[in-house]
């Protein structure tokens, strides 16, 4: 068993142990769940340590027959992009598990079982190199998320849960049709049934069919991201989910969509991906998402809903970067995906902390919290600034690189997206001002306790990670440089020849620019 399979199946193995524990032993279950999350992270360490940055292909590959007559394999492997997202998944898993300690006291065993199942599904999505295996994991994620929202969520949880499920499922069945078309094309062209991504790369399809498949995959991924106008499930799901659910949704689940574009849409359908109309439509949707998401945030009275809508805006940046179709844009997008996971994860945790104390999400219910909860206010300030893209923090690195890429592709795009950064700062600062500053006007806020040690421990890894990416992003850019270059070369052959010098690891324009500027 390769280390990758080990990392992939650790949460599932922990789940089996968890199921064996008696449901009444809540403390034991909680401890085991936290241990499991840490084990999941630990299982990823060998991969991170032994990862070869100079290799642009898939590493830690493992392959086994699953359903030979349909050409479906158990075929896993990672490149820099997927490994980073797996790391994000594992860290989010730790954070989400730990933050639920006090928040969840009902049906504890089922709760942690769902978290571990979710973890397996998400890791599988990023590790799969077989399209059907990917699809199985993709669908596997839906069920535990449905229950997380539906059982432990807020007042409108049932509505939010089924809406999330229906939206995503509608997208993914259409995606399945696209996958089957690719499979059938491979079958007719090469005479072998396979869903393996490397094999599907060899396809040459007529342009109309590429477009057809592109749109079918687009629906699946765009709903997951979510891109405007498919975002309407997101505010409900994020707002009603329990804190851990929101954190995982924002940090990892949305990334499955952007990852899908990078792993499948672009490399498999290069002609459609650079088609003028398609790119313009996607960029336009991204820019609308950036601005619309930010504007809606300014209107929100609900703290959690505000954070939810900020995801729409931030993911708009990610898709803008991807469809700039150049190394800066795509690399920035990957980094921004990490950043969004870290920053928005923190923001949801912040809301969770406030909600656990006051059981309301109305912004107007809070004011002057900084007087009572200085630690909380500090952490919130950090999260807010990281999300708003303050230089030296992680958000800046991603947004800056994306805008660089967008500018290179078309200055107008960058010009249209920049107000999004400004608006982002505006709604976050205003939120901060309304909740943290001023006098304590509501008597209920007068006696709130500050962050406990456990809560600090929840935030700590995210804070450290945010600082690391903000101060020294070079290792991250190095990790994804080769895979990103591969994608760009695939969709725009000859891109690197036209622009001398050919980027080599040390002197790449990406690493020197964004790494060296600070």
């Amino acid at each position: 068993m390769s280390p990758l399979s080990l990392a992939l199946w650790t949460p599932a193995a922990c789940l089996l142990v968890l199921l064996a524990l008696p449901a009444a032993q809540k403390a034991a279950i909680k401890i085991w769940a936290n241990v499991s999350a840490l084990l999941g992270l630990a299982a990823l360490l060998p991969l991170l340590l032994r990862f070869d940055k100079s290799n642009g292909g898939f590493q830690f590959v493992e392959r086994a027959e699953w359903i030979p007559s349909l050409g479906i394999q158990y075929y896993v492997g990672v490149d820099g992009i997927s490994l980073l997202l797996m790391a994000l998944t594992a860290v989010t898993g730790v954070v989400a598990t730990l933050c639920s300690w006090d928040a969840v006291n009902e049906r504890v065993k089922q709760y942690y079982a769902m978290l571990l199942l979710l973890q397996t599904g998400m890791l599988g999505v990023f590790a799969s190199l077989d399209f059907i295996l990917f699809y199985v994991f993709w669908e596997l994620v839906l069920v535990p998320m449905y229950f997380l929202i539906g059982v432990w969520g807020g007042p409108r949880r049932l509505y939010a849960a089924i809406k999330f499920f229906l939206y995503t499922l509608a997208g993914s069945v259409l995606m399945l049709l696209g996958i089957l078309t690719l499979y059938f094309q491979h079958w007719t062209q090469f005479g072998t049934p396979t869903f393996e991504i490397d094999a599907l790369l060899r396809l040459s399809m007529p342009f109309w069919m590429q477009q057809w498949v592109f749109w079918s995959l687009f629906i699946g991924f765009a709903i997951k991201v979510p891109m405007f106008p498919f975002h309407t499930w997101l505010p409900d799901a994020h707002t009603e989910a329990p804190t851990a659910g929101s954190v995982i949704l924002a940090a990892v689940l949305l990334k499955m969509g952007t990852y899908g574009f990078l792993r499948f849409s672009l490399p498999l359908l290069p002609q459609a991906s650079v088609d003028r109309t398609i790119v313009q439509v996607l960029v336009a949707l991204s820019i609308v998402a950036i601005l619309y998401g930010a504007l809606v945030c300014l209107m929100q009275q609900d703290w959690k809903r505000l954070v939810a809508y900020s995801s729409v805006s931030h993911l708009g940046f990610c898709t803008l970067g991807i469809f700039s179709l150049n190394p800066n844009g795509i690399a920035g997008s990957v980094i921004q995906q990490l950043n969004h996971g870290i920053s928005t994860g923190m923001l949801f945790l912040i809301v969770g902390v406030a909600y656990e104390r006051r059981h309301t999400r109305e912004i107007s219910e809070y004011s002057g919290l900084a007087h009572r909860m200085p630690l909380f206010a500090t952490v919130f300030a950090f999260a807010m600034l990281s999300s708003a893209g303050l230089p030296l923090l992680n958000g800046f690195v991603g947004e800056f690189t994306i805008l660089q890429g967008a500018f290179e592709a078309n200055p107008v795009w960058a010009g249209l997206a920049v107000p999004g950064v400004v608006l982002g700062a505006a709604y976050l600062l205003w939120l901060y001002q309304r909740t943290m500053f001023g006098e304590i006007t509501n008597a209920k806020n007068a006696l709130l306790p500050d962050l406990s040690g456990r809560e600090l421990a929840v935030f700590a890894p995210l804070i450290v990670w945010a600082l690391w990416i903000g101060l020294y992003p070079k290792p991250y850019f190095e990790m994804i440089e080769r895979p990103v270059a591969k994608i760009v070369e695939r969709v725009r052959p000859g891109y690197f020849q036209e622009r001398q010098p050919v980027p080599i690891l040390a002197s790449s324009p990406i690493t020197s620019q964004s790494g060296g500027s600070r």
Partner: protein, 489 residues
């Protein structure tokens, strides 16, 4: 034609002979040897013995074709054919009937209607199905169909003192007789056109005729209407919700699974075999039926509060999915139909079995709200139901996904993109009503429902259905191989 009867005819007919023999013996045994109510359980064993014999006979036929590497074995001067297709379907009927016998025992006890002829009728119906799957001659087919239908009229109304059961049987009988009339009319036209009742002769003759021949079109329409009725496809589905709701639950399961599969088998043999040359004529007709089935089935299921009615409407939509494979009409489509029906046998029977296992005296247990909070009372049943519902919706890694996979793939292969998109989107619709049940079971407040009394029948039934639903989903290779080699010989 010189010799009317050969030993190989006997070999081909063996499964049906055994079923009829055991079916009739049960009626006699019930009357003479085991008259006491407590002795009825032995009849189940006897019925299972019959199924085992029928299974062995089928296996012998399968081995025979394999060893001789024959594509098919024709018998009774081309009135019956034993080929991979018929063996596959008959094996499915054996599985469905055996499951049925296992799960009925406790239900009939609870209802106080435990009569031995029940098991006899189950075998008789299966005998009719044998002819639907293997017959290649119009009269044989019609008699097979009527044997199946008439037994089902009785089975649907088996709860003599229950008014709903009686009403269901009456409705089913009236509409069923009507549809049989259509079918008989269609058959007579086919005979009039070709002068023969053998499907091979009809096929040869009809392929010479122009597609615009009005008589031919009339024959096509009437035959299809008759069979679409039996399949339970819209717009000929009106009987299904009432019959499903009123019938004893095991019969509902059997009806929705085996009777549907048998009628589909005949439809496939007629349309893809005999009338294949006139595909242009029947494909639009069938497409309309499919789209209507998907639409009416899924949309009506959304608002149902009675579980059996909900599953009835969902079964209409499943009929639509199965018929999509017929529209695609290639090898993948044929695989899709068979794999779909096989998985449907297990997952749908499983879903009904949950209802049966929960059934108590005086507790109808058919209303969705009555399952409220089931997870707290008997988590195993709730989890099993969730598994079956996920599979019905086609979520991987359950068997239902493999079934839908084939159907979608066949549509993509043959370029039916619009139908593929419609069918895919209806999966999302179906999730809504399936998950209404899941939501009630897992998220609802615990209601008045008594905990289920475990019985060996239910246990065995659950074991088979759940294991099959999971195993076909996780490792479909053996089934795929078997279906592939037997169907696409």
């Amino acid at each position: 034609m010189s010799q009317y009867y050969t030993p190989s005819d006997h070999f081909a007919l063996l499964p049906a002979l055994l079923l009829a023999l055991f079916g009739c013996s049960i009626l006699l045994l019930d009357f003479f040897a085991l008259p006491q109510p407590r002795q009825k359980r032995w009849l189940i064993l006897f019925a299972m013995l019959g199924e085992t014999f029928a299974g062995v006979a089928l296996y012998r036929q399968y081995r025979f074709l394999e060893d001789q590497s024959l594509p098919s074995l024709r018998a009774f001067s081309d009135s019956l054919v034993i080929d991979g297709f018929s063996i596959f379907f008959n094996a499915m009927f054996v599985a469905a009937a055996a499951l049925m016998a296992v799960i009925s025992y406790r239900y009939l006890e609870v209802e106080g209607e435990h009569h031995g002829e029940f098991y006899g009728l189950v075998l008789m119906a299966q005998c009719g199905m044998f002819f639907l799957a293997s017959g290649t001659e119009l009269v044989t087919l019609f008699i097979g169909l009527e044997l199946m239908a008439v037994t089902f009229y009785v089975l649907v109304g088996f709860l003599r003192s229950d008014r709903r059961s009686n009403e269901a049987a009456m409705k089913y009988l009236l509409l069923g007789a009507f549809s049989s009339g259509f079918l008989a009319y269609g058959f007579s036209l086919l005979y009039a056109l070709s002068g023969s009742t053998r499907l091979t002769r009809i096929a040869a003759d009809l392929s010479q005729r122009p597609a615009s021949d009005p008589l031919l079109l009339l024959a096509l329409v009437t035959t299809s209407v008759g069979l679409l009725f039996k399949v339970g496809a819209a717009p000929f589905h009106m009987w299904a919700p009432d019959a499903y709701e009123g019938a004893p639950t095991p019969v509902t399961a059997y009806l929705s699974v085996a009777s549907k599969a048998a009628s589909v088998a005949l439809l496939v043999r007629l349309l893809m075999g005999t009338l294949d040359s006139h595909r242009v004529s029947w494909e639009p007709l069938l497409s309309v039926a499919v789209v209507l089935s998907l639409t009416i089935g899924n949309l009506s299921a959304l608002s149902q509060t009675n579980l059996k009615r909900l599953l009835a409407f969902s079964s209409i939509s499943h009929a639509g999915y199965v018929l999509l494979g017929l529209i695609a009409g290639n090898r993948t489509g044929l695989m899709g139909i068979s794999v779909y029906l096989l998985t449907y046998t297990f997952m749908n029977t499983g879903a009904f079995l949950v209802l049966i296992a929960l059934r108590q005296k005086g507790m109808p247990g058919d209303d969705i709200d009555e399952l409220s909070g089931l997870f707290h009372r008997s988590p195993v049943h709730a989890l099993l139901m969730a598994l079956f519902l996920l599979s019905l919706a086609g979520i991987p890694p359950t068997a239902g996904f493999i079934a839908k996979y084939y159907i979608f793939l066949s549509l993509v292969e043959t370029g039916h993109y619009a139908l593929a998109i419609a069918a895919a989107l209806y999966v999302a619709v179906s999730i809504y009503y399936y998950f209404r049940i899941v939501r009630t079971m897992f998220l609802g407040e615990p209601g008045q429902l008594l905990p289920a009394i475990p019985g060996w029948g239910a246990r065995l039934g659950f074991l088979i259905t759940a294991a099959a639903t999971l195993a076909i989903g996780l490792y479909p290779e053996p089934i795929v191989q078997f279906a592939g080699t037997s169907l696409l010989r």
